[in-house]
Symmetry: C3
């Protein structure tokens, strides 16, 4: 089976079959990252450009390693330190990159829809590595992969997502993917961090973490963007942590075999107490490992590969 898509813009319109194709392909790439020679010649001669308008070492490094393990040439452009951007529209920057004939452009941008704009204009494949508070599809795919690998299934699981739901592209992409795969999703956060029409997304919304995590199979804690939350959506980090952190006090509400996820980087003592972050139920580092595999799978499938 092939992925009949030019671009990866969001998880919202992915079918069950497509998600399974990506996850199955990613699982086959897990082996590549653990063998002696961690490299396959699959994308030799292909050029992958990582165009990051927001700084993100973690995601950029994951894509860069994924590209190199497939033997692609990788080019990093950090638009925050780049002159390319000066006085130039996003469209002009993209058209210029297109003219250099890369194969895939991975873009992170603070503006919702930036990757979609490029996808419509350029002949290259575009991968959305996060656009504003909209979507972060590769994160959702690596999360789905991690859940499926650990639990053997996604359908029927109770998944709690806790934090700033309104501003989280991680939450949005995961909700789409989890619902599509048959999980039940509850979200929890301060009332100011819950989108008004959240229930249209077919999730149950709570303003208390305890209600969301009760009997949950999976608890996904979102990162508080301390650098973004300057507008006093909540009074203080300390107060947020008192009400919304996952810790030894409330973890008992979840199922005994509940697993803990976080997209990273973790603010220790804010979203998670250290014992939870490092405890046996945490699968945070599995997410990171699977992130490289999912990105290898997407680069491979967008280049015409099949499972």
């Amino acid at each position: 089976m092939k992925l009949n898509r030019k671009d990866i813009l969001g998880i919202q319109d992915f079918s069950v079959e497509e998600i399974n194709l990506v996850l199955d392909t990613a699982e086959s790439f897990i082996e590549v990252s653990t063998r002696e020679i961690r490299k396959v010649p699959t994308l030799r001669g292909k050029t992958v450009i990582n165009l990051f308008y927001e700084a993100s070492t973690r995601t950029r490094t994951s894509f860069e390693i994924a590209g190199k393990r497939l033997s692609a040439d990788t080019i990093n452009i950090s638009a925050s330190t780049s002159s390319m951007v000066k006085g130039e529209t996003l469209i002009d920057t993209a058209k210029n990159l297109e003219a250099m004939n890369p194969d895939i452009i991975v873009i992170r941008h603070s503006a919702v829809g930036a990757p979609h704009l490029l996808a419509g204009l350029l002949k290259q494949s575009i991968i959305n590595a996060g656009d504003g508070a909209h979507e972060h599809p590769t994160q959702a795919l690596l999360d789905l992969m991690t859940i499926r690998a650990k639990k053997g299934r996604i359908a029927g699981l109770q998944v709690a997502i806790v934090g700033d739901i309104s501003h989280s592209r991680v939450a949005r992409s995961n909700i789409h993917g989890l619902i599509r795969m048959g999980a039940e999703v509850r979200v929890a956060g301060p009332a100011t961090m819950l989108p008004r029409d959240i229930e249209k997304m077919r999730v149950r919304a709570y303003t208390k973490i305890d209600e969301a995590i009760r009997d949950a199979d999976i608890i996904m804690m979102l990162r508080i963007q301390t650098e973004r939350e300057k507008h006093n959506i909540f009074p203080s980090l300390r107060e947020y942590a008192q009400h919304f952190s996952l810790n030894s006090r409330n973890i008992g509400l979840a199922r005994e075999d509940a697993l803990i996820m976080h997209p990273g980087p973790v603010n220790r003592g804010v979203e998670l107490s250290p014992d939870i972050a490092d405890g046996p139920r945490s699968i945070i580092l599995d997410q990171v490992t699977n992130g490289v595999a999912v990105r290898m799978a997407l680069l491979y499938l967008l280049s015409g590969g099949s499972d």
Copy 2:
């Protein structure tokens, strides 16, 4: 034929034969950038260092892609964020790089003559990627390549260059190259942006864009360096645009088949109105594509390759 040069410092002393050699070689590399596997093993085991003392994502990316398509190892050094530079002279930095045995050093520097200084000191090949307001030979070569490909010839064409002629290394290198190849060159800009002795370069100078572009085959618009022009050489961008932008009002003065060039990034609404920048006569993106090919050609020829 081989290029009997150790370095590419400026276009001023290039012969017609040398320019044609570079352009012919570059044309053969155009094909590499569009094939399925965009890579040839020509420079395997060679190391190319991009040493940029001025930020330039565009030119650096073009050289990096050119190097990688030839299978060279590429190393980027951004001197603006580099500790190498602290308390160290350019010569010491260069001597240190030489000691690491690279093959080619691509340098951009705000000081006129910086690449020439290195070329005299180092055994490696030096490519000037722009030195102050002096020369930008790879830009001129990619411009010549684009003109030749589009018009079938360079000799006898009327080429207008419009903008801040005094401070433009793009203008200077293009004037040398165009005159050498037999084109006729007119320049236009505010009187404060025209070098006093411009006519010694065998071009005609105007202070009105209309006079320069009348019956032109090629119009080359220069980028206004908004970040550099702090010294009020002209009153405002708006006033500059009123007098020196290319737009639907004045484009009719040029030949009907006139082509529009710009080294990028374009300040839309300043040098070019958007309809001109995106119109059918614009060959701005061809310039970008040819930029990769010209840089591949130069890396190849400096490494001893022949056409």
Copy 3:
């Protein structure tokens, strides 16, 4: 012979046999850096991450070139401009990198012991590229290699190290390595720059450069960290230079065949007068060349290679 170590953390506990193994291996790699195709497939499919919490173009470039000449994939992470670091502990950053399955992590960090912390936690090999004022083992190894190559031996040589001994990881690592290899070491610096218990390291300490360099075979000048020395350890650079620079006035005190070393970048006129830095006794650029070879040797040996 193989290097039976997972990590390179410091030179302090290296045996004579181990140092000789690294130096012998490095010498065999010198040839690779000067041949036509400067590349061997030894580390194909291996991933080397350069994780630099302190800016250092020189050392990072040396490691990057070393990795690429061995065909490893190299990933640069500059933590100073990285979001990875925001709100994340060093341990979490390291655990995240580990989860991406690299083979070797090269780390520079301002905190003493940072590489040791990682080495204890991660399954990957860690190379210390400088930790605070503690150790810089690859610098010491390249210095030992340079001395051995130029003098034919290390044992019995008189080596003077001059500068800010207290805050220099270069001094500390070199003292350990030189003493281990049988050299005699004298240090000189302002009294405020000499560690109180320096003589426990089996060196002789002086507060006058003349006493330290008298009859020396090797003079190693340390870089004054002008960006760090804000706390007025000495009154001014000029005064420091008057008392502790190596110049035509005092060089005559050393042996006639004395060689001059400096880890770079040189503050000309401060540690060294220009005639000394560029003179026939200076082996500063040999150090740079040997730096690439030593780092190739370490990457190779840590990957299981033998001499």
